[in-house]
Symmetry: C2
């Protein structure tokens, strides 16, 4: 069988892998991915063959993975978080159309929206949006429009790729857009290096968030209007209290 697994490895170390992901990595003869993620797995698979390309050469990596699987070797393409959220599942499945002989399987993982939320408390307990501020692949106008729609709908918002050296100012601009609709007191938070060495996090207001610097290892959370700071945690109520109060009233 010609098999290619596209595996989300979760936030960081081996503890974040699901059993299913672990089984796919065990089965793979070669692990393929961005160097940082392969390094996170190295302690689990010392000596296993790996193949990596720099961050910006994703399609080359997909091609290599499909060619290698087609040649009969079992390959796991490794993605941080979930393979289907800003990961390699999309481009790989698009390209896989040219390799009908290769069986592909996407193995889901814990994306940063979930692992970061768990660090902060429960900011995504009700309806939420996930938006990337990277305009490498999406026009900036489309990102601005989505930020406006997310604010208008009063979603909790999780922001990926809030900044990098090349994109300084994106988070500040995003906050300005959100502040057109949302209160400057909106509860926000960020987490950096989730589940890895040097993990940090902070709760702050939307007004304060605007002045923060961020990098590609930071995930940002902007609360809905109902989101609260409770005992140092960011929590979006789901509405159970209200329901119970109504029950008691009625």
């Amino acid at each position: 069988m010609k098999q290619l697994f596209i595996v989300g490895i979760g936030p960081g170390g081996p503890e974040g892998l699901t059993g299913e992901a672990r089984r796919a990595l065990d089965a793979a003869e070669v692990l393929c991915g961005y160097t940082v993620y392969l390094d996170l797995l190295a302690p689990l698979y010392p000596g296993k063959e790996t193949y990596s390309t720099p961050m910006t050469r994703e399609l080359e990596r997909c091609r290599w993975a499909l060619e290698t699987a087609s040649a009969g070797r079992t390959v796991a393409m490794v993605c941080s978080g979930d393979a289907g959220v800003y990961g390699m599942a999309g481009p790989l499945l698009q390209m896989a159309e040219e390799y009908p002989e290769v069986e592909t399987a996407v193995i889901p993982g814990v994306t940063a929206a979930l692992s970061g939320a768990a660090v902060l408390g429960a900011p995504l307990m009700n309806d939420f949006c996930v938006i990337s501020l990277s305009d490498l692949l999406t026009p900036w106008e489309a990102i601005e429009k989505r930020l406006r729609c997310a604010a208008e709908g009063d979603f909790s918002i999780c922001i990926y790729n809030p900044g990098s050296k090349k994109r300084a100012g994106h988070l500040k601009r995003a906050c300005e857009i959100l502040l057109e609709t949302k209160s400057p007191e909106t509860v926000c938070g960020w987490v950096r290096n989730i589940g890895r060495e040097g993990q940090e996090s902070k709760l702050l207001t939307l007004a304060e968030l605007s002045g923060e610097t961020s990098d590609m290892f930071t995930t940002v959370f902007v609360g809905a209007s109902a989101t609260q700071k409770i005992a140092g945690r960011m929590v979006t109520p789901r509405g159970y209290e209200k329901k119970n109060a109504e029950k008691e009233d009625g």
Copy 2:
């Protein structure tokens, strides 16, 4: 130490658990949750003490968990998918303010948006929204508004709780709202019983989705305008092809 873990167990069986979740469940003296989820874990923990309440008595379950942890027993509150997405992390952390002696930790898991997406392909590869159609805890008007905003922003949309016996017609109404903005040909899909016995899935158009019946074990995916059906899978392109074409052009 008085310890309470709030654990997302992923879509179904033991294979969906992360190592971290597994460790928390191992450490717990008592597992607490909705019966269906405790049953999924039973093969892993035969004989371990459990406590459950019916689905609608969530706050009672949270209170019991906190009281039990406060009395010195290590408790794991078990949620399907991720504890922080329509799960118990929110109400538990709200109530935990009354129990400062209890140390609480949220352990993230693979929510149905991710596990369902992996079954269908890669529908959430770009910015996306997660919306529940249950109006038990959220007014229906707020849900309608979020659907409109999600369509307006051209997000991929993942819909939780699309229907139940009491909420027949919610999915049809949601599709009507989305069709105000989106093409009837928009690529959509649903997955039922993700990662469990009897898993089913289907790709269809938004026009067709409107006539489907669904239940509380179904997760629905509505594509963005760019979402495609590729070799029987639902894929939202991230834009690598476009970028590479521009590179070659420029």
